[in-house]
């Protein structure tokens, strides 16, 4: 799937920034991945492990935080989280007009290195 190209993107971004900060070894990279995206944390970890040998990431660990979508019913204003994404239905009143906030983010939160 596309996790490999996403991860190449991540490494490039971090490498560029590390260069500017005169960092030549990365210890940790943290990603935030929304629940509604199609990127699988396990595949991201796999891609990271596959790409890191021989680079400044050789000894780095990857942490992936999954971000839940926050939902609010436009009728009764009930706020809720999606446990499993199969349909946007208000658990309180059954309304399907739901405002969704977040859950589709994908970003590098921070990295650590020296």
């Amino acid at each position: 799937m596309h996790e490999l190209s996403l991860m190449q993107n991540v490494l490039q971004t971090v490498e560029l920034s590390a260069e500017q900060h005169h960092i030549c070894r990365i210890n940790k990279v943290k990603l935030v991945i929304g629940q509604l995206t199609m990127a699988l944390p396990d595949s991201l970890l796999f891609a990271f492990e596959a790409l890191k040998p021989g680079t400044i990431f050789a000894n780095a660990s990857l942490v992936v935080e999954e971000q839940k979508a926050r939902c609010q019913c436009r009728r009764c204003r009930q706020e809720f989280e999606l446990d499993e994404f199969y349909g946007l239905v208000c658990p309180q009143c059954g309304n399907i007009d739901i405002q969704v906030q977040g859950g589709d983010e994908m970003y590098v939160d921070f990295y650590e290195g020296e």
Binding site: M1, H2, S5, L6, N9, V10, T13, V14, S17, A18, H21, I23, L31, L36, T37, M38, A39, F85, Y86, G87, L88, V89, I96, D97, E105, M106, Y107, V108, D109, F110, Y111, E112, G113, E114
Partner: protein, 233 residues
């Protein structure tokens, strides 16, 4: 040392997609991104659609395919300009590929640009190309559960085309269930039932599409719309 980045993984793609969108808008081009699983009927629907529209409107097509140019050849037979993108194993198109490919079409001044994405319901959903409409094809032969199994692509769809309706009698596909599932995650999506084999239902989809293209032209300023309409005669 800890460095806070907060840089978006697809930030680069989103930037290029944004530029594509502005460039297409400035030319009044309506851009359609066609997505589906392999074999749902994207190319067949394109063939039917182009056949109807080719006399009324200038059409360009970008064909995404892993390795071959078979679909591009099929489309070429319809007498429209086609550019092939071979992704060489990458499972989706991205905005940069579209930007490149379109340069080869610009001279032919299309008003309607179709992009056939790589057959895959997962990855293409994540990549904005700068399109106006995301059209997802689902066929009656692939089972009832696609909407709930691949919610992202359906959540972001503007149109869902349910294809191969001629096969309905031979499958357990439940049109009402699928409509309902789409309604739950994406109530504003337009749904059309079509058959690329018999042509049934194509008229409604094509009329709708033509209207969208007119709206797009009208959203530019009035004079340039008139100039373009004149230019096509």
């Amino acid at each position: 040392m800890k460095v806070k980045l907060e840089s978006r993984l697809l930030g680069a793609n989103e930037l290029i997609a944004h530029n594509n969108r502005n460039m297409f808008s400035s030319r009044g081009i309506l851009v359609i991104n066609l997505m589906s699983s392999p074999g749902s009927g994207k190319t067949t629907i394109l063939e039917c659609t182009i056949q109807e529209l080719v006399k009324q409107i200038k059409i360009g097509v970008i064909e995404g395919d892993l390795y071959t140019d078979q679909d591009a050849r099929r489309i070429e037979q319809q007498g429209v300009e086609v550019v092939q993108i071979n992704t060489e194993g990458t499972c989706h198109l991205d905005a940069q590929m579209i930007c490149h490919a379109y340069q080869k079409l610009d001279a032919s001044k299309p008003q309607l640009l179709f992009i056939e994405n790589v057959g895959n319901l997962v990855c293409p959903a994540e990549f904005d190309l700068g399109e106006d409409l995301r059209v997802v094809v689902i066929s009656t032969a692939e089972g009832n559960d696609k909407v709930t199994k691949y919610p992202l692509v359906f959540r972001r769809a503007d149109v869902v085309l349910v294809n191969k309706t001629d096969l309905l009698p031979y499958t357990d596909f439940d049109v009402e269930k699928v409509k309902n599932d789409i309604g739950l995650i994406n109530p504003s999506a337009s749904i059309f039932l079509v058959s690329g084999r018999t042509g049934e239902g194509m008229e409604a989809w094509i009329c709708w599409l033509l209207q969208q293209s007119k709206n797009k032209l009208l959203s530019m300023n009035g004079t340039s719309y008139l100039q373009m309409a004149e230019g096509r005669k």
